[in-house]
Symmetry: C2
Subunit: 280 residues, 2 copies
């Protein structure tokens, strides 16, 4: 990912200094506009804009703690995957060392960087965002979510939750049909158009959730959505029901609380208000 | 759904007799080609093709058991939602009463029936499928999956597993961003294009699953996909982690079994081979 980010800004004409824990990883970068350094301090000092793409929050501190004196007056854009709390802590830490902090959540895989569909979410210092926006936009669409440094990570993880749950659902379905000798590929060829057609329903569910009235007519009821057949068929087929059972649990909690006639979107309440679900 | 099915075939010129547990529900059906009867026996006797769309497998038996003598020589197409085992049992029961049995899995909501994107899966008696195919195709694309009567229900539930898991993931993400005051609608507007762009990855995962080599280069590793940040951020925000924790469980089982460097698609194995996961 670091290579994709450096390559894209260098190709756009921005002189770029790169550093990697493993020297020489810069390899095939465009040497006309990029230079590699073996010192973190030199890398930080080379530019007013410092972009950090590492393994996790701990590795950011591990790499930058020895050079905090060099951070003063610079902008630190951290695109390392972190939790919202870790991003907020890094923002406070950067502020203590005189650096403006922007947290970035990259919603793309490396080959997508700089191309259509690439999205990087930002939160943190608003002035730093405005100052560097034209550079950041080289990587993709670059919305600014707010000055709470944790927002980009929160939003990033929220989007990934949808993605991972969907992939797990696909794996579950593929495992079910495999018990009848159907290949994952044959299943994927049906599931891609079917699931694609269902994605826009997010907007309808969102309207119900924001409206707060789960009794709006025309919805599929929780009782109809209870997934008993799906869990039973999984167990019958010898397939681990964990993922669909977790979804069923969200639905059941609302039915048990007396909301079975309400729409499926009420399952949201089991996630958003887990401790008060039964009382609502 | 029954109304949508009857309306569509009647509109295509097929004389249709309808029966509902609650008399008079036929209401606004096209009376030129549909007639309503108050007797199940009369409804069964009216046509060689008998289509059943009820609440569940038990209700199919409850409605038809008193008239089994009238089933001989007819084709029974059951589009009621059932488990694969229930479909197989209904197939055996229909056979005992001289009826050809086709099981249908409707992958559409009623307004979609007869239009683009409508899909109904069939399994069971191959001769009955060929004989009635031109009528069945009035409702939508009508693939035949095989003579095991349970296949349509299995495939149906497998596709729905992907859909429900995805919706639960969307609810999870919406609940996460709600803790920062972001509306479900705003989240849906980002999540729809993002998740849509990820759906075709099913085909890539399918290739890895069918190939059986989870070490194929270029994949995101299980270790990178472990979802710890997502679960932690959910807990930090007071959001129930159930759905993402279930996905994390699938990943962790493979990492614990020593496969952490393999691609994310190996999470499939935790579902498909739950008892032998650690041994693989």
């Amino acid at each position: 990912m670091g290579r994709a980010l450096a390559t894209t800004v260098a190709a756009a004409g921005h002189p770029t200094t790169v550093w990697n824990r493993t020297p020489g990883r810069a390899g095939d970068l465009d040497t006309a506009r990029t230079s590699e350094t073996r010192s973190v301090r030199d890398a930080v000092r080379a530019s007013t804009l410092v972009v950090v793409c590492l393994l996790d929050a701990a590795s950011v501190r591990e790499v930058l703690d020895p050079v905090t004196d060099a951070l003063d007056g610079r902008t630190l854009v951290n695109v390392t995957t972190t939790t919202p709390e870790q991003s907020r802590a890094l923002g406070t830490w950067a502020d203590a060392h005189g650096a403006a902090y922007l947290d970035g959540g990259i919603m793309a895989v490396p080959p997508m960087i700089g191309g259509d569909g690439s999205l990087v979410l930002y939160s943190g210092d608003p002035a730093a965002y405005e100052r560097w926006r034209s550079v950041l936009e080289r990587w993709g669409e670059s919305p600014y979510l707010g000055d709470d440094a944790g927002l980009a990570a929160l939003y990033d993880l929220a989007m990934l939750a949808g993605m991972y749950a969907m992939f797990a659902g696909f794996f579950h379905g593929a495992a079910m049909v495999a018990t009848a000798g159907i290949s994952a590929r044959a299943f994927a060829e049906s599931a891609v158009p079917f699931v694609s057609a269902m994605v826009p329903a997010f907007l309808e569910y969102a309207a119900v959730i924001d409206g707060g009235d789960y009794g709006v007519p025309g919805q599929q009821s929780l009782e109809f959505s209870v997934l008993s057949d799906m869990v039973q068929a999984s167990v019958d087929a010898g397939v681990a029901p964990d993922v669909v059972a977790a979804v069923q649990g969200l639905i059941r909690a609302q039915i048990d609380a007396g909301h079975g006639k309400d729409g499926f979107a009420r399952a949201y309440e089991s996630i958003a208000r887990p401790t008060t679900g039964a009382a609502r």
